[in-house]
Amino acid sequence: MTMDRLGNLTYIARMHSYYEILGLPVAFELNLKTLERAYFDAQRQWHPDRFVGKGEDLREQAAIRSMQINDAYETLKNPLARARHLLELRGIFIDDDSNPPPALLMEVMELRERIQEVAEDGRALHAELESLKKAMGISTQAIADAFNTEDWPVMEEEVLRLGYYGRALEEAHMLIYRLKANHAKEHH
């Protein structure tokens, strides 16, 4: 009677444009202050706290709206999620099963090997972390350029790349945390 996962998480608002929900122009480049202001304004209008003591139907609809606004904000504030959403709006869906180009796969495998090799070396890990952050900045810019020139295949590949970088970054962070924890234990 156990279950098996099928595909990615679907957010309830997925079928909508998150930009529309927050009343923002569709663009990859997004000022976080502008986003936050739009988010606050939308929640000020639709948060369930605004509908206490009102009719059940109205409260329900407001709650759904408030959920959509939260989804929209969480998605758009993250460059990778934002880029994926922009591709989705054009019918391009990237999930865990998407096949990356072999060259990208190679690059990512080498990157992760490099991180594993320095797993016990705090200084080298920090150096990898820094260069990874730089690479993520470059990739993010490439996504912006691809979006602006409507080059969807390039944007798709860069989104995959940024996703891999993100996971590698997480791994590096985890290794650093572990080093610190071990270090603290030894001190005890």
Binding site: M1, T2, M3, D4, R5, G53, K54, Q61, M67, M174
Partner: protein
């Protein structure tokens, strides 16, 4: 947006509760406070003796129930039928208690399953009933002071309360005749009390060290919006632990074993008195059993340094989640009686590099914030609270792994759906097991609910499409719905505190999840490899059963020999070995699979009618 307004019937009252009054309640582990806000100025409500801080203690004597100071006196004098610190048991099962070692502090009803029950004066009582008595007392205090009936409240809960404990709190309010307008997190309430007061802007840390729990929340205050960015905490860490540390010291100095529960309660009360005296003096005495044990402030600080250090670790975690350094925090707010301890104040100031705000009484500030929110919800307000869920929520999948559906620190309300499928051919039912926590494996997370979705039409494994939706409302309460998409078979549960629930251990679980992250991932990969291998074995077995005629001489033996190697690898713990043997199996099966494919295509072509071929 227009559609929402159109369903608005003229008959429905458009003014929200214009004539009603709503109170704010801080239902604490050691003490509770009720407050009211009128015109934006919140005030704590006092009882007939002028006391605002009501001990969260209930005494049962036959049909007679006493709450508050009288019950505390009874407890200190060792009388029977007294229940204290009931908040620690909200939403918990008996087995949870055994794990946490909290059982010793209560006279538990042994004969019950599910929710824990407490024995008092010959009665078997649930934590919900006992909390309801506290709430009734607070409610009647407010009614006496205000001279009118009160039926609505905002009640605060620790940010780290899990779903079961929140639901139990709401149930207790219902029993006490109170409609809960909103459950809000204690640190958020404190921020509200300070923020509205000073029109502050920026990033704030709320350091809430109470009697039984510790919470830290990082909030952003801007344009009247209180946005919770991250929260962390420890549900087994509070001023009570300081009292216990002093008590343990006294027992050690006097070379005594742990006394009876009644005597120990008196020792704890004497220890607390000494702790309180040490906030202003350099030395205090614990008077117990006619003897005095002197304790210096320095000795006390050494006893509690470990407890304070644990709160600082939580602060680091929450700040990291929010993406801020301690120095980037614009202000720190102190909440909870334990922040009166000078050493605590000093450690907080050192950590954040600035003196904390302590203008408001730390024992009242949460109730004051709750009162403000109660007013905002009944009278309307420009301010808005945007809160997050403190713990991840997920489902059990193949191999006992938890698939996270809603991640911690996600803004609420929220709804997320995930599609699942069946694992076996012809599977018609699906167990839906809902879990809360950060770890990868089922046994390391908190089980919230289990139900079975039935009526799935028999299909090949992987063909059914079951959509499971998690909805988390603004109170942080979860409901789960499951639907089979091809037939529309549906099932929905409000997650109720009926299983082995607890809010304790959550912080430990969280910490463990960081420390175990790597082993968890390795274990998960191993389990996934096993699941994958089992699936390959099943596929091969059913292919052989169906198309044995296509096998060449000796081929079956070869395949079965390799299948055996796969099975042996599955029994072991070497993931690479499993993957290797499965790859070998695929290799051995390769040409048989090709023949099956060819036969299937040939069969399909035969089925095509002649006129379609032309």
């Amino acid at each position: 947006m227009g559609t929402l307004m159109q369903i608005y019937e003229p008959g429905q009252t458009p003014l929200p509760h214009a004539d009603s009054v709503a109170i704010g309640i801080d239902l604490g582990t050691t003490h509770s406070v009720v407050a009211i806000a009128t015109g934006g100025a919140p005030e704590a409500i006092h009882d007939a003796h002028g006391r605002a801080i009501i001990p969260s203690i209930v005494q049962y004597e036959g049909a007679h129930i006493t709450v508050g100071h009288e019950a505390r006196r009874a407890l200190a004098e060792g009388e029977a039928g007294v229940v204290a610190s009931i908040k620690r048991l909200m939403g918990k099962s008996a087995s949870d208690l055994q794990q946490s070692g909290d059982a010793a502090a209560y006279v538990l009803d042994a004969a019950t399953e599910g929710m824990v029950r407490v024995q008092a004066a010959g009665r078997s009582l649930s934590p919900v009933e006992i909390s309801a008595e506290l709430l009734k007392h607070l409610r009647s205090m407010a009614e006496e002071a205000l001279g009118r009936a009160v039926s609505k409240a905002v009640i605060t809960v620790p940010a780290y309360f899990d779903d079961a404990a929140r639901a139990a709190t709401k149930d207790a309010a219902k029993l006490a005749g109170l409609e809960v307008l909103r459950l809000i997190n204690e640190p958020t309430a404190a921020a509200l009390a300070y923020g509205l007061d000073s029109e502050a802007q920026g990033v704030f840390a709320i350091y809430d060290f109470g009697g039984g729990t510790f919470d830290i929340s990082v909030l952003k205050l801007e344009q009247g919006v209180f946005q919770v960015l991250a929260t962390a905490g420890d549900t087994e860490l509070g001023g009570d632990d300081m009292d216990r540390a002093i008590a343990a010291h006294v027992l050690q100095v006097r070379q005594l074993a742990v006394p009876t529960p009644a005597l120990y309660a008196q020792l704890l009360a004497a220890s607390r008195a000494a702790k309180e005296a040490l906030t202003t003096r350099d030395e205090a005495d614990v008077m117990w059993e006619g003897e005095r044990t002197s304790i210096s402030r320095a000795a006390f600080e050494a006893m509690v340094q470990g407890l304070i250090a644990r709160t600082m670790d939580c602060c680091s975690d929450a700040l990291r989640e929010a993406g801020f350094e301690p120095s980037q925090v614009d202000g720190v707010v102190l909440v909870g009686g334990s922040t009166r301890v000078p050493r605590v104040k000093q450690c907080v100031a050192d950590f954040f590099g600035k003196p904390p705000h302590d203008k408001l009484d730390p024992d009242l500030v949460v109730a004051l914030g709750a009162a403000l929110q109660a007013e905002a919800l009944t009278k309307g307000s420009d301010n808005l609270l945007l809160d997050v869920t403190p713990l991840s929520l997920g489902l059990e999948t193949m191999g006992g792994i938890v698939e996270k559906i809603i991640y911690r620190n996600t803004p609420i309300p929220t709804a997320v759906a995930q599609e699942f499928t069946t694992y076996q051919d012809g599977q018609t039912a699906l167990k839906v097991h809902v879990l809360q926590g950060e770890r990868e494996k089922v046994e390391d997370c908190r089980s919230l609910a289990q139900f079975v979705l039935r009526g799935i039409p028999p299909m090949a494994a992987g063909a059914a499409r079951i959509r499971i939706t998690f909805t988390l409302d603004a109170d942080g309460l979860l409901s789960v719905a499951a639907e089979e998409l091809t037939t529309g078979a549906k099932q929905q549960v409000e997650v109720q505190p009926s299983y082995g629930l607890a809010f304790e251990e959550i912080e430990r679980m969280l910490r463990d999840s960081m420390e175990h992250a790597r082993t968890d991932i390795l274990e998960r990969l191993l389990i996934e490899a096993r699941v994958e291998a089992e699936r390959s074995l099943q596929d091969v077995a059913s292919a052989i059963a169906k198309d044995a005629a296509l096998l060449r001489p000796g081929e079956r033996e070869m395949i079965e020999a390799q299948a055996l190697r796969v099975q042996r690898a599955i029994a072991g713990v070497d993931r690479e070995k499993i993957d290797h043997e499965v790859a070998q199996l695929n290799h051995v099966v390769g040409s048989f699979a090709q023949r099956r494919m060819d036969a299937a295509i040939a069969g399909a072509l035969q089925g095509v009618s002649v006129d379609a071929m032309e």
